[in-house]
Amino acid sequence: MRKLKWWQQLWYQLGFVLIALFVIVPIWGMAQMAFDASVRGWPTEFRLIPREFTLDVFRAVWERPAQTLSFLGTLQNSLFVAGGAALIAVSFGASLAYAFARLRFPGQQIGLFALLLGALLPPVALMTPLYILLSAVGLRTTLVGIMIVYAAISMPLCVWNMRAAFQAVPKEIEEAAFIDGATAWQTFWRVTLRLAMPSIGVAALIAFLIGYSEFAIGWLFVDKPGNVTLAMAISNLQRQIGTASWSHLAAAAIMMSLPVVIVFVVLQKYLLRGSLFGAVDE
């Protein structure tokens, strides 16, 4: 391709600036409020920069985003629930994904189809059945209960991703392990799993993020303030808007998203591969 002339370069950069504005302006519209001490309740005037710069809002949110829990408390719940959900989804899904990727058995196509059905089901559809199931075993209102629900939501996608990850491992390496006398289990545990680990990590991360940002289902299950997750606390702030301040909501949303954004920026290449569902094998 030819080199760009300076005015072409200018057009390109102008285009990028426009798109960057589309990306940034909405975020800024919210972020500036979190630093503004003059916003009490509703914002009442259009502002591009805070009137009275402050960090108090963040401090207040840090201390108490939900009724009784501190920010760290809700974050802890979030990490527990989302991390556990990711762990369940990955560990129960891994062998299944491997079977679909490598083994041959009757009903394989139907099985894949059923997996897809799970992914097609809107999350809301899981609520009543799981509500009843978890009530039956007495887990419904516990954090473990929510963890299982979130695992259910992310598992079909997780299996799908890991299947792609296992398929990407060269068959020759497995065959070599077989020839060296490894059993099927040893081959899986020692060879395939290790090689697919980065992609499995990505699948786990995606499952984690689903649990980290879910709130609507959580609210239907939780009945004590001590079990509120961060996403649930923020959704509650939004629901109570009017009594709670918008700047609090903004600050909480930023505090929740910042770690995720950093993770995404750092790991973008790996995360992308996990989001392409096996279409690209680099």
Partner: protein, 718 residues
């Protein structure tokens, strides 16, 4: 046709007669049964004015009166002629257009006029079934078509004449002859019966220009005379139509220009100022909503409420209709686009396109059901079903045993957390489970009710979908598949159509922006690529519901950025079209970065020499993208597109956080509101479950369709 043997012709005649009889029977039944509707008193009164004039020998009534001047008088004249032969009736009062349906109208005048209209409707079916009997049958039972050709409306006559415009035009083969003359006369009558129906003339015009376009053969340097020569038939056609229109509209005779201007100008004013239009507040995709459901009122009048399937098949058949009967396809498309942008969204307007719609539905039926089915039957006949042999079974058993330990943990988990919910939802949708019977339902009442129902021990009860109905029953009852059947036959057509419009436009916008920016970023020599890319992925990293809150802050109706900036409220939720735009902006922001990254990954895999080859062939710009880049990119994007389409279809947090209103909700959001006991409609668990099952059925259809399409495309490429 002439080559066909006589038994075939006999069969055709029998089919046409049978379809016509069906159409007539159904319409006469509707004439008898349908209650008096809006506007019927208006058009009956208009006819009565003419009839009274005729009976008194006052011929000037034709040039003096045109009650409801916004519509031309031809149908009203017909009404007048019918009523002139009947004994005079008390005068029908003059009431505003927005008035409720009249309580009572003079008999037998109402029935007689309705009957004549229904005969026009039957003739339309007869003409269409001469082209294709199956299309005739579809039109014969199409509920909207039955309804508005069996009442005293304006639709029956122009629907018939507009079909005749096309049929005579096709007969003429575009030459100036008797058939084209007849076509022009029909167009004039169409215009004199109801203005919007002349869109059929636009379709004919475009088709004529397209077919006879001389530019392909004739080289430059031709004289202007040839252009006149070329256009002569169609100019004569249009001119003749205009004369017929004028002759058939006696109200215009005394003062043509001013009266025509008044009459036409009314529509613009009505659409922008009438309170009933503003109150109805219909989205621009309303024509699709209407076509996607059968007439929701007076369901006992219509024998086969299958309009939903007519639309579905028509969509699948459009491509073949385009190849086979291009003028009908043009008619369908042009009128549909017209209806999208025509601000008045009354249901009767869709009769402008039901005739080509029925033809398209036939093509869709052939392409989607009939031909695959007959191919399958042929294959079965020629090959027979393969039975597995003994070694194959043994082999399968061995494979299963090997795979078994791998499958068990995952299958148990998946079964409990994905398949069990699916089955349970299906069971719930067959009951009347609500918040008041939840306790019973959770203790196995759902299974008991379904079991009783399926073994015939319990009769299905009727589910009342009404948040304010008192729900006192503590027990779950079997309700049968009524909720599912209702959904499948267009019961929530407005939500489904919104879903489709929403998913298609959201995925399209995200893909367009993502691919576009990826192409820009991939161009050699562009500076700061890494910086821009990192900046652009930020919305991808932000959790969906935080993204929704970000946009809620912008668009909040009274205190959001936009309304503070404008110093006035921005009530976007109250208008479906504005809602769609606002939600699309937010969805575009959230979704395009992933499409950009996926496109970047895909673009990297395209070898540069492909472009060199394309450059040799002279492909540039859009051509190069269309012919080279996109086909190579699509296989990479396809899985992402599928998943994105599914997630967009099931999008929930955005709609929840933005507080979107009915009917701009996704099905899963609606299911949540029906489920959530704290919401206004909440606690209707059976309804929520039925919606969820319905969603899965729709998505399953989409996935199967998409994978088939991909297969056929792959077969075409390789």
């Amino acid at each position: 046709m002439s080559q066909k043997s006589s038994p075939n012709r006999l069969l055709l005649i029998i089919a046409v007669l049978a379809v016509t009889l069906v159409a007539l029977g159904v319409r006469l039944y509707a004439v008898d049964k349908l209650p008096i509707d809006y506007d019927e008193d208006d058009y009956l009164r208009a006819g009565q004015l003419y009839a009274t004039g005729l009976q008194n020998g006052d011929w000037s009534v034709f040039t003096r009166e045109n009650y409801r001047t916004e519509h031309p008088p031809l149908t009203k004249l017909v009404n007048g002629l019918i009523m002139a032969g009947l004994p005079p009736a008390p005068e029908i009062p003059n009431r505003p257009t927005s008035a409720d349906p009249a309580r009572q109208l003079p008999q037998p005048h109402l029935d007689k006029v309705r009957t004549v209209h229904s005969i026009f409707g039957t003739l339309e079916v007869l003409v269409l079934s001469l082209i294709n009997p199956l299309a005739g049958l579809i039109l014969a039972v199409h509920t909207w078509t039955i309804k508005y050709t069996s009442q005293v409306m304006l639709e029956a006559l122009p629907a018939l004449t507009s079909l005749l415009v096309v049929v005579f035009y096709l007969k003429s083969k575009g030459k100036f002859n008797l058939w084209l003359l007849l076509s022009a006369i029909m167009l004039g009558l169409t215009a004199a019966a109801k203005y919007p129906y002349v869109m059929v003339g636009v379709a004919v015009l475009i088709h004529w220009l397209w077919e006879s376009w001389p530019g392909r053969e004739i080289r430059p340097g031709q004289s202007d005379a040839s252009a006149v020569q070329w256009l002569r038939p169609i100019i004569l056609w249009g001119f003749l139509a205009l004369i017929v229109f004028f002759l058939a509209d006696p109200y215009l005779w005394p003062d043509p220009i001013n009266r025509l201007r008044d009459s036409l100008g009314y529509h613009g004013r009505y659409a922008t100022t009438a309170t009933e239009v503003a109150q109805a507040n219909r989205p621009i995709w309303e024509p699709l909503v209407l076509l996607a459901q059968s007439v929701p009122w007076n369901s006992d009048v219509f024998p086969a409420p299958l309009d939903t399937f007519t639309l579905l098949f028509a969509i699948f058949g459009l491509k073949r209709l385009w190849q086979k009967h291009r003028v009908f396809a043009l008619w369908l498309i042009i009128v549909f686009v017209f209806l999208l942008f025509w601000p008045t969204k009354w249901a009767q307007y869709i009769l402008m396109l039901t005739a080509p719609l029925a033809l398209s539905a036939v093509e869709g039926w052939r392409a989607v059901v009939w031909e695959p089915f007959s191919r399958w039957v042929q294959r079965i006949r020629s090959v027979g079903v393969k039975r597995p042999t003994c070694p194959q079974i043994k082999n399968a058993w061995r494979e299963t045993r090997q795979a078994f330990p791998w499958l068990v943990p995952g299958l148990i988990a998946l079964g409990l957390i994905a398949l069990f919910p699916l089955i349970y939802q299906l069971a719930m949708s067959l009951t009347d489970l609500t918040s008041s019977s939840l306790r019973d339902g959770m203790r196995g009442g759902v299974w008991r009710a379904v079991g009783e129902g399926l073994t015939g021990q319990a009769k299905p009860v009727t589910v009342i979908v009404d948040p304010f109905a008192r729900r006192t029953s503590n027990e779950v009852h079997y309700a049968g598949p009524q909720l599912l059947l209702n959904l499948l036959t267009g019961g929530v057509a407005d939500l489904v159509v919104f879903e489709v419009v929403w998913t298609v436009s959201a995925v399209f916008l995200q893909t367009a922006l993502g691919v576009g920016v990826a192409l820009m970023l991939q161009r050699a020599g562009v500076r700061f690529k890494g910086l821009w890319r990192t900046l652009f992925i930020v919305p991808w990293a932000i959790p969906e519901f935080v993204g929704a809150i970000v946009w809620f802050n912008i668009f909040e109706p009274t205190n959001g950025w936009i309304s503070l900036w404008l110093h006035k409220p921005f009530p976007w939720q109250q208008n479906p079209t504005t809602s769609l735009v606002v939600l699309l902006i937010a969805a575009l922001w959230m979704g395009w970065p992933l499409m950009m990254l996926a496109s970047l990954a895909g673009l990297k895999m395209i070898p540069p020499d492909v472009y060199d080859a394309a450059a040799v062939d002279g492909a540039k710009g859009w051509m190069r993208f269309r012919a080279v880049t996109w086909p190579l990119l699509l296989p990479v994007l396809a899985p992402v597109l599928i998943i994105r389409a599914i997630l967009t279809f099931n999008q929930f947090y955005l709609f929840y956080a933005m507080r979107a209103n009915y009917p701009t909700l996704t099905l899963s959001t609606a299911a949540f509101y029906f489920f959530d006991a704290t919401s206004e409609y909440g606690g209707q668990f059976a309804v929520a479950a039925a919606i969820n099952i319905f969603t899965v059925i729709l998505l399953l259809g989409f996935v199967i369709w998409f994978s088939r399409r991909k297969q056929t495309q792959a077969a075409e490429v390789y």
